[in-house]
Symmetry: C2
Subunit: 440 residues, 2 copies
């Protein structure tokens, strides 16, 4: 937006509207914008720290984990039954059982010193160590113990049958978990299993959040003529959801020096700095100018081919990424999802699980904008004919309720003009489709 | 599994194998089993607590939230420009502009006392309060300020154009967030927006975890003949992932009284009690018997039509659900996903987001079991022809690495015999498909 003439007071748009494309010299496509950002970051591995596995859930593994041991560490029974020499059982049937002498029994978790010979059997439990020379287990269902200390075998087994061999689960020296793995509950089980109790993980990224706008107040008090700052609670929550540590830089008034000094604090303490509002192209939109004053290379992208969130700016100062987010809460949040989320993934060298999607029928037409990626908030509900996606009616990115009522996004790509009523489209869910029957 | 004859020592299977269906009197279908469990729970609302919204992320809202105010609280400009009386602009074009007298300006966050008349205009910023009598905004792009204190208007606007009306986003007295909502970042923004700083949420459920097995050790030390207890770290992690509080009941040896007293402690302190192992049908499988000794109604289901995890038991004692999970880590974890996860959802009266799924081509046949729900661990990778799902080869639920190598599950439903090589099937992902290009 260009301001024509001289305003009696500076015109600014802290919650700036989505200006027409013409306000920006060029709108950079989302993918290109993100590449420009990461290509300007210094090549640097994330900082590491060592944590106990009791605190490692959801953290990003910083090294490959090689197993120091074989698991199982010995051949063990995979079934309850009798350890036998398989060759002794050949030809056994219910009608022509074979008889073996019971020479002992093996319990779980006890190292066995039992040594068997041909013609002998040992009672064994699942997980029990196979006695020397035995090479198979006859399931207890196919046996009958006799009062004379022998066991009837009713079925033949082949060598290795019902036996779990040394290293079958994990072989010593092999990689069990790869660098970059976001640790899940079963990974903690695996680490415990192979006797590893501390791991190196990436330090949590610190993401600083500054809101700008002289009209903003802290949420806790209503002040006449002021409006609550809703972006910091949302962004700090989104940062926490990604396992990062939010740093609250508070609110800066629309003053160059105030914004600059708070951003400097952010660059000093954080890995990523977010600043909301003052990022459009009006005279009050000073965030890009402040960022450029902080150091090189400064603003890389200003104006992204994305609706909403077009005024988003991407910058690097002193090797730290700064994202200049629009002030409208919907725009700020969507720009966070589109840029900050993959930036965190890039800096940690780890992938996050994608959002779930459902295929749904559109209840009415949605328009895209050729050349821009368009986010449509939608409400998906289940019907007998399948999922229906209802675009949430909204007059713009100022309407916060559109993000609260919606349970998903329809993303209209750059090359698509729109989707028609009745068309089947993918919706990315951020809430469940509906109050599902929890009792299945 | 029936043990025939008299074992010289009790045969037990703390990490019991998946016994044949015949070992159980009946295998209860998963859905029916879950219904039996929840139908035996007392009808009881979850306990509530009040939290600051800074701590409310991911918590379950316990009440509907009604907005105490209209948002916006007044008519406000949706664009930077000039507030006008729309009727004054009718017929305006670049070639035939209309001239209005500028009588003032409106800033953001300031209550305006400005009162306009026909033939007048006021400079206004996005979000600024519309002065009395004005009813539309002409975008600044279609205007030009003149040195004589007038503004040229080059385009006509209709009443309401570029104005965001009182209550357009949120109407006073309407429900903005429903009971049962799992609070997202944008919901915290909404609560801040309408001036609500504390909310009632469901108290985090406490889920107690007991491992049984004389062969088990705490993970931190290797003891000859013992094996590390891997189920508690995994289950406690899975409990945390769902926003609940794990209670560690430790390890009980395979002794009736020891298991019983630890379970009693769990019932006293937790909302849900999980116990692993000793849940099959061998003589050492005493968990069901212990549970039945604790109170009514005791075991409701023992043996579920699900592979792995068939020996799972579901019980209620003194109004508290007890889930008897198989000892094999893969079985324990899958039974957790199938029963404990929806139980938590049921008890909190809230839905979780589903796991993401991808449609992938099967690299080889997978077998189901008619009448049972079968979980196949799979590794999904992206190729130029689409996603390929490779079932992870494993000799059974004792193979923990199958859960670590896999990034998803193929669930073969009860009525399906199996899926063929090359068939397109849905895979539920618990890890990302592959090291995606973070730079898009």
């Amino acid at each position: 937006m260009h301001v024509v003439g001289t305003a009696t007071k500076p015109v600014r748009s802290s919650h700036e509207h989505e200006v027409c494309g013409s306000g920006f010299k060029r709108l950079t496509p989302v993918g290109e914008a993100f590449r420009m950002l990461v290509n300007s970051l210094p090549k640097k591995s994330p900082d590491l720290e060592s944590v106990s596995i009791s605190l490692a859930l959801g953290r990003v593994l910083a090294t490959d984990i090689l197993s120091p041991i074989d698991m199982p560490p010995f051949d063990r029974a995979a079934m309850d039954g009798f350890a036998v020499v398989a060759e002794d059982t050949y030809g056994a049937t219910v009608n022509a059982p074979i008889f073996l002498r019971i020479v002992g029994s093996v319990s779980m978790g006890v190292t066995t010193s039992l040594h068997m010979n041909r013609g002998e059997a040992a009672l064994i439990v699942t997980g029990g160590q196979m006695p020397q020379v035995s090479n198979a287990v006859v399931m207890v269902e196919y046996t009958k113990q006799r009062p004379d200390g022998r066991v009837e075998i009713w079925d033949e087994v082949h060598p290795g049958e019902n036996v779990s061999c040394v290293g079958e689960d994990v072989q010593r020296g092999t990689i069990v978990l790869k660098k970059g793995t976001l640790l899940l509950p079963q990974d903690l089980a695996m680490l415990t299993y192979i006797g590893i109790h501390r791991v190196m993980v990436c330090r949590r990224l610190r993401v600083a959040v500054l809101s700008t706008g002289s009209e903003l107040t802290e949420g806790s008090a209503f002040v006449e003529g002021k409006i609550p700052d809703v972006n910091r609670p949302a962004l700090m929550g989104a940062i926490r959801q990604l396992g990062c540590e939010p740093i609250d830089l508070g609110i800066a008034a629309d003053e160059f020096d105030q914004i600059r000094s708070k951003l400097q604090g952010g660059i000093r303490t954080a890995d990523i700095v977010l600043v909301t509002a003052a990022t459009s192209v009006g005279p009050g939109d000073i965030a890009p100018q402040v960022i450029n004053s902080l150091g090189e290379p400064g603003m890389l992208v200003h104006g992204v081919a994305m609706r909403p969130s077009m005024p988003t700016g991407l910058a690097v100062v002193n090797g730290k990424p700064i994202i200049s987010l629009p002030g409208y809460p919907v725009s700020a949040y969507l720009a966070f999802l589109e840029f900050v989320h993959p930036l965190i993934s890039y800096m940690l060298d780890a992938d996050f699980l994608p959002r779930p999607t459902v295929r749904a029928k559109l209840s009415r037409r949605v328009a895209g904008i050729l050349g821009s990626r368009t986010y449509v908030r939608a409400r998906v509900h289940a019907t007998e004919e399948g999922f229906i996606a209802e675009p949430v009616r909204t007059s713009g990115a100022g309407i916060l309720s559109s993000l609260v009522q919606a349970n998903g996004f329809i993303i209209v790509p750059e090359h698509v003009e729109g989707y028609e009523e009745g068309q089947l489209i993918d919706v990315e869910l951020f809430r469940p489709v509906e109050r599902a029957q929890t009792v299945k």
